[in-house]
């Protein structure tokens, strides 16, 4: 079974702190994604990557950056956390050969910024 693992299920940070959210997948997927999920807004794409060291902006990249140094790992970075970044963050991955196939999601990381 494909497994997508997010490093922290729950985090509490203070405004201005730098936050790292880590995601690792074990199925050699080329594509990886970061979404945030907020009530009433559904899932919104922050960044995605289709190869090592490659990244593309999604719909809401402001205030975030990403890193993909290894194929299996995709990190989301909040350079200076703000209260409006309190949210559930979901990492996902998919096969390169299935550009338009299913996404495999991690369990999510619920971030609270005080």
């Amino acid at each position: 079974d494909v497994k997508v693992t997010q490093s922290s299920r729950y985090l509490v940070k203070r405004t201005g702190e730098k936050v790292f959210l880590e995601c690792v997948q074990d199925m050699d997927h080329e594509n990886m994604f970061w979404y945030r999920q907020d009530p009433g807004l559904g899932l919104r794409l922050i960044y995605f990557s289709y190869d090592v060291k490659m990244k593309e902006k999604g719909d809401i990249p402001e205030g975030y950056s990403v890193s993909r140094e290894k194929k299996e790992r995709f990190s989301l970075i909040l350079e200076s956390a703000s209260t409006n970044q309190t949210s559930m963050y979901l990492c996902a991955s998919s096969f390169e050969g299935e550009w338009h196939g299913e996404l495999f999601f991690g369990e999510g990381s619920r971030l609270t910024v005080l």
Binding site: N31, G40, L41, G42, L43, F48, W99, E102, G108, R110
Partner: protein
């Protein structure tokens, strides 16, 4: 803006009844997918229907797609309490430049009562 919009936002039924959820979208698509999310967890892929398909079945799930109306429906037959979850449709719009950039709706919250 959200590509897919689910209807209804919330649905409460008795165990054994059928549950129908609808999804409308705005632009032409390669495929449409349905996902399920248990409270506080990640999303799990249920079914994918391609733009040239009209109906698809998977166990107790039946999905239809009407590209002329830009809409889809998910039917869960003989519902169980364990089906209680949020259900999201996700569309893969044509002309996004690849990258499997699914766009998610805001979801339907299904509650199945004993």
């Amino acid at each position: 803006s959200q590509q897919g919009e689910e209807d209804p936002q919330a649905l409460s039924i008795q165990e054994g009844e059928n549950a129908t959820m609808n999804c409308s979208y705005k632009t032409s698509i390669n495929n449409l997918q349905w996902y399920r999310q248990n409270s506080g967890r990640g999303l799990v892929h249920l079914i994918l229907i391609r733009s040239n398909e009209r109906e698809k079945h998977s166990g107790r799930l039946r999905v239809t797609l009407d590209t002329s109306k830009k809409s889809s429906s998910l039917l869960i037959t003989a519902s169980r309490a364990a089906d209680t979850a949020s259900y999201f449709c996700a569309t893969d719009p044509i002309l996004t430049g690849g990258g499997n950039k699914l766009t998610f709706g805001t979801g339907t919250q299904l509650k199945v009562e004993l």
